[in-house]
């Protein structure tokens, strides 16, 4: 009986593991289209001096810990991205869950040439705890 359970776990792991490898962060891509692409654009380029780029953005490295809270609650302060100032407010999406946020972030972290370390769900949950409202 126990063998059965272990085997199921292994198969399930393989199934999801392989599926994810084929298409990493497909859900993240979908959520990005819905919540982010209007402003940050499909290619993560942003818009002039109004909306900062996500593609090749140093901010993702330097402010990694803040990213989950920014997605959920938005951003009001002026930020520096790749040496340029951006002062527009970013609206957050408070309805996003930790799972949504993890998926979106990991899509951003690995798209358009970005090669940042992916987030784990419990990292995101812990970081969100800090800015909980």
């Amino acid at each position: 009986m126990k063998v059965f359970r272990v085997l199921s776990a292994v198969f399930l792991f393989l199934f999801f593991g392989l599926k994810c490898q084929q298409n990493p962060y497909r859900e993240g891509a979908r959520l990005y289209q819905v919540h982010c692409a209007n402003c940050h654009m499909d290619d993560g380029a942003g818009l002039s001096a109004l909306i900062p780029p996500l593609a090749g953005s140093g901010f993702l490295k330097t402010h990694r810990e803040r990213l989950p809270c920014i997605l959920k609650y938005g951003l009001k302060d002026t930020i520096q991205v790749n040496g340029k100032q951006y002062a527009e407010q970013m609206p957050g999406v408070p309805t996003l869950s930790a799972v949504h946020i993890t998926n979106i972030l990991n899509y951003i972290q690995t798209s358009w040439g970005n090669q940042e370390q992916p987030f784990r769900l419990d990292d995101v949950e812990a970081l969100l705890e800090a800015c909980k409202r």
Binding site: A37, N38, M41, A45, L47, S48, A49, L50, P91
Partner: protein, 206 residues
């Protein structure tokens, strides 16, 4: 005699399928017939104020074709994409005095001249080429109809306004000649080809 007939047929055939002569863009909207003359809908007189506090009227676009849209600065939905595509158009025709761009803010309360100025600077656009205008609330909402665009206040819509992301092409006789979905880069490519065709039609070759 036979040869003349043959020549005539050949010439007609040549004219009929000359691929070098594209059909002109249509004049959009319902036309009227007044005293036997066809009257096309035209953009009425308008007067707005741009990012430099300059008056913008029909005279601003005299002898120009121009591209129109409706937007608001704190728009959380489609505006940035429309602006990004507007910037592509702006960059293509940046040095062409025959082309202008005109963006109307539909948020007359928040998008003051100063706010429009800041927005224009951040977009990096030259006011001579791209006017961001504000003005009388009703005048802006009513001229949206003349451009076949949609602009309504709707507290239920994201940001409080409902509007289409259309870009509209107006010729130098105030006729609307083409439009596209400003959020769709491919549609905007086609729109820029329409602009080239209109320039070809309305201006002598330089």
């Amino acid at each position: 005699m036979k040869y003349i007939l043959f020549f005539g047929i050949a010439l007609t055939a040549f004219w009929a399928c000359d691929p070098g002569a594209p059909r002109p863009l249509p004049i959009l909207g319902e036309r009227d017939v007044v005293n036997g003359d066809t009257v096309y809908p035209t953009i009425p007189d308008f007067s707005f104020v741009d990012q430099d506090s300059q008056a913008v009227t029909n005279a601003t676009f005299q002898d120009k074709i121009y591209v129109v849209d409706f937007f608001f600065i704190h728009c959380p939905t489609i505006c940035p994409k429309v602006k990004a595509n507007g910037l592509r158009i702006y960059k293509k025709y940046e040095n062409d005095p025959r082309v202008g761009l005109l963006s109307h803010s539909i948020d007359v309360k928040n998008d003051t001249v100063a706010a429009l100025k800041r927005h224009a600077e951040k977009l990096g656009i030259h006011p001579e080429r791209w006017r961001l205008v504000t003005g009388d609330h009703d005048a802006i909402y009513s001229i949206a109809d003349d451009y076949f665009s949609v602009a309504t206040e709707n507290p239920g819509a994201p940001g409080g306004f409902d509007h289409s992301g259309r870009l509209i092409l107006v010729d130098k006789y105030r006729h609307v000649r083409a439009f596209c979905d400003g959020t769709n880069a491919k549609d905007v490519d086609r729109f820029m080809q329409d602009m080239d065709r209109l320039l070809e039609e309305q201006f002598a070759r330089r």
